[in-house]
């Protein structure tokens, strides 16, 4: 038998500051429905200009990066993108055959 089941879509936005309404500087998508296969370098335009725009389109914020002070002696180091926000959408997708 088959029907529909809930699947998770995940959107990761990297923003310019720790504010959710600051501009998007990087992004990633992961699709639990299997309908699409997002991958590295597949687009130059961000899906949303900022984090709030994603909320307005129905994405639910599930995690925001903590604000961690620099380790002493490493105040000028640059490393990963700091302001990472994870969103999800639960969508209906065809269920697996029993």
């Amino acid at each position: 038998m088959s029907g529909t089941e809930l699947r998770q879509r995940v959107l990761v936005l990297y923003l310019s500051t720790s504010a959710l309404d600051s501009p998007t500087v990087g992004w990633a998508n992961y699709d639990g429905t299997g309908a699409t296969s997002p991958t590295t370098g597949d687009g130059d335009e961000p899906p949303y200009p900022d984090g709030v725009a994603a909320l307005r389109d129905g994405w639910r914020l599930i995690q925001a990066a903590q604000l961690i002070p620099p380790y002493p002696g490493h105040e000028y180091d640059v490393s990963f993108l700091k302001h990472e926000f994870l969103f999800e959408k639960l969508v209906e997708a065809p269920g697996r055959a029993a």
Binding site: V12, Y14, L15, S16, T17, S22, T24, V25, G26, W27, A28, N29, P38, T39, T40, G41, D42, G43, D44, P46, Y76, D77, V78, S79, F80, L81, K82, H83
Partner: protein, 269 residues
Amino acid sequence: MTAHLLTSAQMARFVAHGFLRLDAVVPDDLNERAVDVLTAGIPAVPYGTPVAEAFPEGSLPRRLVAVPEVAGALHSLVGPEPRIDHHAVHVREPGQGSAQPLHGDAIIDVRPDAFDVQLMYYPREVTLAAGGTLIVPGSHLRRTNESDTGRYQNIRGQHRLTCPAGTVVILHHGLWHGGRRNDGGERRYMFKIRFNPTVRQRLLWDTRDLADPAVAEELRTQFPWYEQATGRLELHNRVRLWRALTGDDTFDLDHWVTRVTNRPTRAAA
């Protein structure tokens, strides 16, 4: 050689961008021969082999590094007689299903006053569909280890390389990059050589324009993906690299380094 050395402004651009493009500099006869040579494979050499010992006279790699624009850029960046770290032929088949995760090569490498470069040679035209190398300008000073950046699928201002046949791109060892999925109909070829310097990397280029305002202008370049605050640290770190490359400990951009290192020891009268 001198005619093809990089200028100070070009070196500053490399310090800011982390890579240098030399479009269509390799002659057609070499490009035409390259696909067969790369398909057959180029024998590996031990780490640290001098160029002259690594590749026979007249061979494709030897001729490639002797192309005047390539030789001038390599001399400017890593100096005379660099050693071959390793080399590799990358072939991406059409329809190949996955892209490489965004990464920096080897392992995290935070040398403040030295760097390796990676030469990437494209003997055929690379189209957007063929999935050329993805490069993130200005990412080379980020302290990240190999593919720990794999979660980043796209970054604003990223460079999805498309280029004419015979193009060479030279990357700072830390630059984030990755081979994109080949959604085109033809094989994509790239030949990579990593070079280790054997001399101090200081003033190895054509320095006649060292005091030109274009140098500071290049070093001030901001990229669309830089976070507001961290983008300032990038400028600070470029100043430190430029000081190492020039030996000029007074160089600065807008007081960024001078301000935060000012610790007077003179007692007030």
